[in-house]
């Protein structure tokens, strides 16, 4: 029971695969192959992220985090967070452990929220995207997304104000 609760997501995926494999074997193996290829490609990045966040949690002093991302940083900190978010590449959720480490060290929720929000912009991808969609389209989306990321950060802080920090860490 305990294991089921912990691994429910894995179980659901496994059951889905087994069921679909009996109905549509060729399509399912295609999906399996795609999933495995993506996983293998992302594995080194994830390993780096996890090692980086464990490094930060051991060696980064909370004081530094608080100075740059803490409660006292005003709009500047949030904006900086948003800008920082645009530089990172990879799927959004792969960096969640890192963000969590920063939050635990006392980073302000608005800063992390803005960082995650701005993550929608992948700076190295911009020229590639513009090749398909044109520069006006991409430039407008980029500017609006950075703006919204800052707003999103503040809104998240407002919405989650009630929940204690401990709950977030559990």
């Amino acid at each position: 029971m305990k294991y089921l609760k912990r691994y429910w997501f894995e179980c659901v995926v496994a059951i889905l695969y087994i069921t679909l494999f009996f109905i549509l074997p060729s399509k399912t193996s295609c999906a399996l192959k795609e999933g495995v290829v993506m996983f293998v490609k992302m594995l080194p990045v994830f390993l780096c992220v996890v090692l980086f966040s464990s490094f930060l949690s051991a060696f980064l002093s909370p004081k530094t985090v608080q100075r740059f991302m803490g409660r006292k940083t005003g709009v500047k900190g949030v904006l900086l967070g948003a800008l920082f978010g645009t530089v990172i590449v990879g799927p959004l959720w792969i960096l969640f452990p890192l963000y969590n480490t920063l939050l635990k060290k006392g980073a302000r929720l608005a800063v992390i929220g803005a960082m995650i929000g701005a993550f929608a912009i992948k700076t190295p991808w911009i020229p590639y995207a513009a090749g398909f969609l044109g520069w006006p389209f991409i430039s407008i989306i980029v500017i609006l997304t950075i703006g919204y990321a800052v707003i999103e950060g503040y809104l998240m802080e407002k919405v989650l104000k009630g929940s204690s920090k401990n709950k977030l860490e559990s």
Binding site: F52, A129, F137, S163
Partner: protein
Amino acid sequence: MNILGAVIYGIIVVLCYIYAFKKSSAGATKAVKKGISRFLQQLPFLISIFLLIGLFDVFVPRSFVVSIVGRGKGLLSILTSALAGTIVAGPVSSAYPLGAFLLKKGATIAATAVFLNSWVMVGFVSIPYEISIFGKRFTFARNGLAFIGAIVIGILTGLLLGGMPT
């Protein structure tokens, strides 16, 4: 792109640990151990997410997604685009060509922008993972705000470029 990203991350991590081992090798060893154990702990979850993305990608065919985006009139088309963007999973590198294809097929700029934004900003498949790290409230607040943001940004893009649905 992926390789370059991984190499950059790798260099950063190596530099960090060189610094760490110089400063305190005991602390650095502990950090490595902690990182690896967390990595192994999250590995099953990670594999499952990728496998689920694979399923979504194969069983929710692109043609189906294309048929949803921009369906309906006015604001409804915005909403269907946002929903379509939320359920698709897969690397963004495939999102942009798809966006171009949608525009060519006659989808409005607003609908296309909403679709692309919600694809990148809202993570439907990774919600369980997000909850396991940040908790429910954070996850729902973030995805909710991202969903709204995708719509707002898309509509503004449409207004600015004159591509609003009528």
